[in-house]
């Protein structure tokens, strides 16, 4: 097995197309048939994103590595959990990552020791990794949409999504009435939806 995979490594374009140019869904289909090159390609495409999201939620690089490993091994062993008809692969991967990370957070009660996130989104950053990243353009769109929200709406949404807090917890954290938090989340999400989904249809 070892020596053959080495030899095959010389000719990744056997099928006429290199793996790195294949769309996610095709790679997942290959991965489900046990193709480890497809898995490697998806890892290289998304590991920094998965890791960064887990790290943002957990605030700890060691735990973020564990979550990243867990997410990708889950993908490898149980790729059938992804249902293409329910939406794009990237959305699924991010959802699974976020759920695993906040779940980890809750189970360890680390939240008690942790500083509440400030609600700031990093809007700068010229990492050259991003220039070539598959999802760089989509990321710019999301960052712009978040930046377009009133800060209080953005904060409520970020506390929920990245902080893993419930509406009730956010109300406690911020000292604001629950109704206010609910409204902020709803208005913010409505605006994001308008900004992100309308552009997508164009």
């Amino acid at each position: 097995m070892e020596e053959q995979s080495g030899a095959r490594g010389q000719h990744p374009q056997e099928g006429g197309q290199s793996y790195s140019s294949l769309p996610d869904e095709e790679l997942v289909a290959r991965l489900m048939r046990g193709d480890i090159r497809a898995f490697e390609t998806l890892y290289d495409r998304y590991s920094s994103l998965v890791y960064s999201l887990a790290r943002k939620v957990l605030g700890d690089s060691h735990q973020a590595e564990d979550v990243t490993q867990d997410v990708f091994l889950r993908l490898w062993h149980r790729a059938e959990m992804y249902l293409p008809r329910k939406g794009p692969f990237l959305g699924w991967l991010l959802t699974v990552t976020r759920n695993r990370a906040t779940d980890e957070l809750r189970s360890q009660m680390r939240r008690l020791k942790r500083q509440a996130p400030t609600g700031e989104t990093n809007v700068g950053g010229g990492d050259d990794l991003l220039q070539e990243a598959h999802w760089a353009q989509e990321r710019e769109r999301v960052k712009a949409a978040l930046a377009a929200l009133p800060p209080e709406q953005r904060q409520a949404i970020e506390l929920a999504y990245f902080g893993g807090f419930t509406q009730q917890e956010i109300a406690q954290l911020t000292g604001l009435p629950l109704g206010t938090i609910k409204t902020r989340i709803r208005l913010g999400m409505r605006k994001l939806r308008a900004l992100l989904l309308s552009q997508e249809q164009e």
């Binding site: 920094s48 999201l53 990708f72 062993h77 959305g91 959802t95 999301v142 949404i157 999504y161």
Partner: protein, 254 residues
């Protein structure tokens, strides 16, 4: 809950910011309302995209080596076939064996066709063939044991059996009449003892049928469960059960 109340909660639900009690009420409404489910899909899509906005940090190259090494390691049997209409999942082991033999035969035939079509995938086919062989040897194990699993009233039509082998540290669940989980949820198996729960794995039924293998060697050494349950959990699974069981086994004999 009516549609208007549901709409008020959908965004927070998609962000994972609802309390348990609100989740149950909302999910009940979603089950019967395709329009709200459509709305939810959109909200989920937007929520998922938020993950893109994080500051990007590259993980250490050592992580890549670790993940790929783990993936290359031969895992437990990767079973994702259907259990073909075996209505009496709790029937005698011989029935299970016969059905399994047929299933394996069909699978192997399918694999052959695929092998011809996709010669680049010889490796995975070989791996599956090995798993098949392993399966046959497992089912004929003298220590293969089974207990019936009982559905909660809401899932009254479901029938399931849990099989396991101590010597191989391997277990599987066969279930029929198991409805598709609500959107964004999956089934997850739990091993229980004295209030302690260890995760098996998540799985989804196809056409109401689930047949799923679990690697018992992932449980802590020396720890033996006294019960097995299945709950509904968010996509990706939970580290502890967060909902009441859908299926519960009778006590596992020692």
């Amino acid at each position: 809950m009516d549609c208007q109340e549901a709409r008020e909660l959908l965004d927070s639900y998609a962000l994972g910011a609802l309390a348990e009690r609100e989740i149950h009420a909302l999910e009940e409404h979603l089950e019967g309302c395709s329009r709200c489910r459509g709305e939810l899909e959109e909200a989920r899509h937007v929520a998922a995209l938020l993950g893109l906005a994080v500051p990007i940090v590259r993980p250490r190259p050592a992580l890549r080596r670790r993940v790929l090494a783990q993936a290359r390691r031969p895992a437990l049997p990767r079973l994702r076939w259907l259990w073909p209409g075996l209505a009496a999942a709790s029937a005698a082991a011989s029935v299970a064996l016969a059905a399994l033999a047929l299933l394996l035969y069909t699978q192997v035939q399918d694999m052959r066709v695929e092998q011809e079509r996709l010669r680049a995938e010889i490796f995975s086919t070989r791996e599956l063939a090995r798993e098949h062989t392993e399966m046959v040897s497992l089912v004929s194990l003298p220590d293969l044991r089974l207990v019936p699993m009982f559905p909660s009233p809401q899932y009254g039509d479901a029938r399931a059996t849990y099989y396991w082998s101590e010597s191989k540290r391997w277990g599987f669940v066969a279930a029929v009449n198991l409805p598709d989980p609500p959107p964004g949820r999956v089934y997850q198996l739990w091993y229980l003892r004295d209030g302690e729960a260890h995760s098996g794995d998540t799985f989804l039924p196809r056409n109401g049928t689930a047949y799923h293998a679990f690697d018992l060697s992932r449980l802590p050494g020396g720890w033996r469960p006294t019960e097995v349950t299945v709950t509904l959990e968010p996509e990706g699974g939970s580290s502890q059960p967060t909902t009441p069981p859908v299926l519960s086994s009778s006590p596992l004999p020692r």
